[in-house]
Amino acid sequence: MKNLKTKSLKLRHEANYWQGSFSAMASPCEVLMEVKDRAMAARILEAVADEARRIEQKFSRYRDDNIIYKINNAKGQPVSVDDETARLIDFSDRLYQMSEGLFDITSGVLRKVWKFDGSDKVPEFLAVSAMLDKIGWTKVQWKDQTLTMPEGMEIDLGGVGKEYAVDRCVQIARSLTDESVLVNFGGDLATTGERRNKLCWSVGRLITGKDNAVALFKLYRGAIATSGDAHRYLLKDGVRYSHVLNPKTGWSVPDAPHTVSVAAPTCVEAGMMSTLAMLQGEKARAFLELQEVDFWVD
């Protein structure tokens, strides 16, 4: 409670829960806590914010003092990593296998040619093709917690980082209280457990194409994650290029939904399901139906 202001954390009381908020990972972050006293709410909020910021610092690709920078600037030299980084890379490796290469943490370099600013600046075919040399998880050697990557390639754990942070924060909140806590980092959210009196957590979500219209997710337990961004696309000659890029071709996935939300036991599962669904383009809905998960496609 004592450090809320120094850490730029806000805590306020709502009808029957405490609402904490702060900024991290370039997103508005929110923690809803069905705890009795302010001190406990402050304690949970502080622990969650500390963890979110820790993960952001450790895995952000925008910093020059972390393990990601070290890997991306190793110039072909092997880099050994800590346990947590290794678990995230292992997980990404499995996702790569599962998705048959559609989920690839080396695909981040494509942002150098694709700028999704709503304009018609679709990159040149050759410029995209030139990037393909620098993409491909199979070009990376990952063994014994040591990663060796050809010079010029980059990895980016941003595709799973926020969902991972949500689940980690849920674990921490669960260790601090038996009461229900909901962690929401920019629309990726998860709960520690059910609320009292069979109440649910109601979380607003923006509906694409309708300005400021908000629908509600009603969440009793588990997690919901959303992929997609209705405002990040290019439009040229009547063709909409979504920001979802296929790492195998380097090109925007045709007919990808604007947004996909998926409910799952954890935020990581929900987020990966929605990401993989987006990569299916027009088959997103079919893919999700096959998974037997609750989902929303706009």
Binding site: R12, Y164, D167, I172
Partner: protein
């Protein structure tokens, strides 16, 4: 990618990612939360001055068990009213030890300035959960002063109901006190003797037992409001006199002067007080805590009555005002009580006590604490965090007490009391 079901593989991969030990949760190991404070209390006009350092330390032991320890040290000096009152002539009293005298000037309220005391108090509580919804707190306390020893045991049982929105508590406490007045226990209604002519004492010590029963309910009204209601019954049995308080014996209640002669020439016209040896106290306590957006209002009301005829009301209001990185908490408290049935200004020779020294009444005391009185306390506390898990706070209070001596002739009234309290507090995790 062919469309295929990957839900199961995804769950397994996620499990491997998240299941590993969580570093932050491990870091949150049990620590002592320690609260240290130093309190300074000062009554105006050279009356009681007290310094009180205190330390409290508690820690969670896991499995919802907790242990708490308290140590408080008090050092008191200054002058305290001896039970007499101001008269138009100087008054000479004998000190409690019986070997010296002190003189109170005409028009002054008599104070015994030999008052000194030191107290050490130790306490420990052990909280254990019976199950997720109930717990028991066992407590033990021991305190010792130069002339007083108190030993206590408590047990409190709490049960949560209604999704933990309601908590019922029942507690039982038992105290055994030993009173060892300086130079023995004064004989009730016996006169204070002229110095060095012997003292009217009977035995070295007395005892007192206190049995406390309490039932209470705490209710979460909504997410902003919590209320608490407690009912207590306290049975006190044994020696309850203040062994240092005397009463003035007068011929004429109007002049208020001590009787010109009482028993022998070595007997002063002051007798030791006498109170009943049993007392039953009933207390009703109500408290409400209401959270505003950031600030907190804390209100309580206490009603007290006992079979000595004292009824009191206490209203207490605190408002915690959150500043940018600290808080301010103004405090106001109002206390009012009626006098005890046996509270007397003086004893009249021939009516209350005969010329042979036999009391004609059962009990009497002129201790101002048993009088009809009002107390107003105004305070302000400022708290500021110092680093991650510690807080420094300073609190100041002014206390103003007035005794309503209705029917007492002018000049003989009990003086008002003004006091100042300052406390600095530092709490931290260790």
């Amino acid at each position: 990618m062919q469309l295929k079901k990957i839900k199961g593989q995804m769950a397994v991969a996620t499990c491997a990612l998240l299941q590993a030990a969580s570093p932050a949760a491990n870091a949150a190991e049990a620590e002592w939360d320690v609260d240290t404070s130093l309190l300074y209390y000062s009554e105006a006009d050279g009356r009681v001055q007290a310094a009180e350092p205190a330390i409290h330390a508690g820690r969670d032991l896991g499995d919802d068990e907790r242990i708490d320890f308290r140590v408080v040290f008090d050092a008191l000096t200054g002058a305290t009213p001896n039970g007499g009152y101001a008269t138009s002539a100087a008054q000479t009293f004998t000190t409690p030890s019986g070997d010296s005298t002190y003189v109170t000037a005409a028009g002054d309220s008599p104070l015994d300035d030999t008052f000194r005391d030191a107290r050490v108090s130790l306490g420990a509580d052990w909280t254990m959960s019976l199950d997720r919804m109930s717990k028991v707190v066992w407590g033990a306390s021991l305190s010792g002063e130069i002339d007083y020893i108190s030993m206590g045991l408590t047990a409190a049982y709490s049960q949560d109901f209604n999704n933990r929105n309601t908590t019922l508590t029942a507690s039982l406490g038992f105290n055994n006190d030993i009173i060892n007045p300086y130079d023995g226990v004064p004989i009730e209604f016996s006169p204070m003797r002229v110095a060095n002519t012997g003292i009217n004492r009977d035995g070295d010590s007395e005892t007192k037992t206190i049995t406390d029963f309490m039932i209470g309910v705490t209710q979460v009204v909504n997410r902003k409001t919590l209320i608490q209601l407690n009912l207590s019954l306290s049975l006190v049995d044994g020696y309850q006199n203040d062994p240092y308080k005397i009463m003035t014996v007068v011929d004429d209640p109007v002049t208020g002067l001590p009787a010109s002669s009482f028993l022998t020439a070595d007997d002063l016209s002051y007798v030791y007080e006498k109170r009943p040896d049993s007392r039953q106290k009933n207390i009703l306590f109500f408290k409400a805590v209401h959270h505003l957006e950031e600030d907190v209002i804390n209100f309580s009301y206490r009603y007290y009555s006992d079979d000595w005829g004292i009824k009191s009301h206490t209203l207490d209001l605190k408002y915690r005002y959150e500043l940018a990185n600290s808080y301010l908490q103004p405090h106001v408290r109002y206390y009012t009580q009626d006098a005890a049935d046996f509270y007397r200004h003086n004893l009249v020779l021939g009516t209350d006590i005969d010329t042979a020294g036999n009391a004609l009444i059962d009990y009497a005391s002129h201790d101002y604490r048993l009088a009809e009185l009002d107390t107003v306390t105004l305070g302000l506390k400022y708290g500021i965090p110092m680093g991650d898990d510690s807080e420094f706070s300073v609190r100041g209070e002014v206390i103003s007490q007035s005794v309503n001596d209705s029917g007492v002739p002018a000049g003989q009234e009990t003086p008002d009391l003004d006091a100042l309290m300052l406390q600095v507090n530092y709490s931290f995790l260790w």
